[in-house]
């Protein structure tokens, strides 16, 4: 992953979140506290500002800077979780041009950090339910020797499938868990934002960097 691609990814992510801000908040309104769209929007707006003119040598630098910004600007559950995910992944991306396998390994680290911090696992109806299948798909595609564009597209599709699969679940982590059985039937807002982030990665990887 190149520095430019990392920047393009976060720009695309910010744009997707801007467009889907109200949608994310509405999902959070159903089973949470109606702030996920606002939180993510505040965070990614700050990320774009923080990266503007920031001299990053590697894609890892970009992600670390973005993660730190999320931690210090978002708050809530999603701020520390996404922030830690990006910072952890960034720490693995030290090379100048990481390949799909390297990106998969870095994001797997980020996912592991999220699971640790949030004591969450797949099936708890959180962002992990979109994040984990996306990382799996990315790794499988990389293992199959596919290029980054293809791998990222597979990851996005897996994340979106993971998001849809959260609907029938009863939440065990995060605010939605307070609702008990009433959390069933709604998509998890954090899984929805994770799906947006992987779709943004696929979009950025599909476009010529610049």
């Amino acid at each position: 992953m190149e520095t430019d691609l990392a920047r393009a990814w976060l720009r695309a992510a910010a744009a997707a979140i801007e467009v889907n801000r109200d949608h994310l908040t509405r999902l959070d309104s159903a089973i949470g506290d109606a702030d996920h769209g606002t939180n993510m929007h505040r965070g990614f707006t700050a990320v774009l500002q923080a990266l503007d003119g920031y001299p990053a040598a590697t894609a890892g630098d970009v992600l670390i800077r973005a993660g730190g910004t999320l931690i210090s600007r978002v708050g809530g559950a999603s701020g520390p979780l996404y922030g830690t995910a990006l910072r952890t992944a960034g720490k693995r991306l030290t090379g100048e041009r990481p390949d799909p396998a390297g990106l998969a390994a870095a994001l797997a680290d980020g996912l592991a950090a999220v699971c640790r911090l949030g004591s969450a696992q797949v099936g708890d109806k959180t962002m992990v339910d979109a994040f984990a299948p996306a990382v799996d798909a990315l790794r499988a595609s990389a293992d199959a020797g596919e290029d980054l564009g293809t791998a990222a597209r597979a990851a996005a599709e897996a994340a979106e499938a993971g998001l849809r699969a959260t609907a029938p679940l009863q939440a065990r982590r995060g605010r939605a868990s307070y609702l008990g059985e009433r959390s069933i039937g709604h998509e998890d807002p954090g899984a929805a934002s994770t799906a947006l982030l992987f779709r943004a990665l696929a979009d950025a990887a599909a476009r010529p960097a610049g």
Partner: protein, 332 residues
């Protein structure tokens, strides 16, 4: 959405500006987003810091002052503060004897305060954390996020704050806070949903003859929906939920709060208090102190919560100790 605001984005800074204008005893730092005592940290005293999402006013900023909190760090509406902000509050509160964080048990709050505790330690500030998790509507289990922190926060902040003011050390203040939390249980019902400035619409639709039972303080729906019933029955159910979770023997002395969620008039809260007091008297509980009013709110939600804290030594003396904050004041 009908609110007094200029824009959703500017809501919180403008609320803080008004708070600063109204209370010269408070120092509001709009950049660091903290509210501290204007007189600064008290040298040698343990600092008590709390914070969380905004929308629960007067919690927490309204409890900053003599005998209670040294600093508060208000996050965005219903969003826990960020670590930097919490560290700033810790620094403002630290008089050299360490700082107690009073943290309501929400995933976001817990994570942000944990990160802040690490950063504060790096800066040489000793931190102890008291987690508040009093809401019995949520089943406590390792498979969930655990109980929410709600009304008991006021009790923890008052009593820990008084202990700190009285010269107790870091461990003692934190232990006392934990004991108050362990002795407290809460339960809430909502008659209406609330509307956050950012979302602009009520969090849920509730028919005119139904209530949400077992709600938290973030506008989320409750554990279940029930028909609206007479206040006497609702109050008895709330008392039952609280006492069922932690049965108290007859003769127990308690501090009790009937807390409005923001949109319920004081008259109704007094009516509920009368019913709660009667239901507790039936169980042989003696209320030795009480609070009736809006203390831990959920924006404009109509509803109320009941918190019962079984009194132990030395809760009562610390409860009665002087306090001088915008929202709680006596003895000075």
């Amino acid at each position: 959405m009908k609110k007094f605001l200029n824009s959703a984005e500017s809501f919180l800074p403008e609320v803080l500006a008004g708070l600063a204008a109204a209370h010269p005893d408070l120092r509001v730092d709009p950049a660091a987003r903290i509210v501290a005592r204007a007189a600064g940290a008290v040298a040698g005293k343990v600092g008590v810091v709390s914070g969380g999402g905004s929308g629960h006013e007067p919690l927490h900023a309204g409890f900053v002052g003599e005998g209670m909190l040294d600093a508060a760090c208000p996050g965005e509406v219903f969003t826990s503060p960020v670590p930097d902000q919490i560290v700033s509050a810790a620094a403002a509160a630290d008089g050299g004897a360490g700082v107690v964080f009073v943290v309501k048990n929400y995933t976001g709050d817990v994570m942000n305060f944990e990160m802040a505790a690490e950063l504060a330690a790096d800066e040489g500030i000793a931190v102890e954390t008291v987690l508040v998790d009093d809401d019995v509507a949520v089943r406590d289990s390792t498979y969930t996020a655990g109980r929410r922190g709600t009304g008991a926060t006021v009790f923890v902040e008052k009593i820990a704050g008084a202990a700190a003011a009285g010269g107790a050390d870091l461990t003692a203040v934190a232990d006392l806070g934990r004991r108050v939390n362990a002795a407290s249980r809460s339960f809430a019902v909502a008659l209406t949903a609330c509307t956050t400035p950012a979302s602009g619409r009520p969090g849920f639709d509730l028919p005119d003859d139904e209530i949400e039972v077992g709600v938290g303080i973030h506008g989320e729906p409750g554990r279940r929906r029930e028909k609206l019933r007479p206040a006497r029955e609702i109050a008895a159910d709330m008392v039952h939920a609280v006492m069922d979770d932690r049965p108290l023997p007859p003769g127990t002395e308690a501090i009790v709060m009937v807390n409005g969620l923001g949109g319920t008039p004081l008259s109704e809260l007094y009516l509920v208090y009368g019913e709660v007091a009667a239901a507790l008297a039936d169980r042989g509980i003696t209320i030795v102190r009480n609070l009736v009013g809006d203390y831990v709110t959920s924006l404009d939600m109509a509803g109320c919560s009941v918190t019962v804290c079984a009194v132990e030594e030395p809760f009562l003396a610390l409860w009665d100790a002087p306090v001088r904050t915008p929202a709680l004041r006596w003895g000075c």
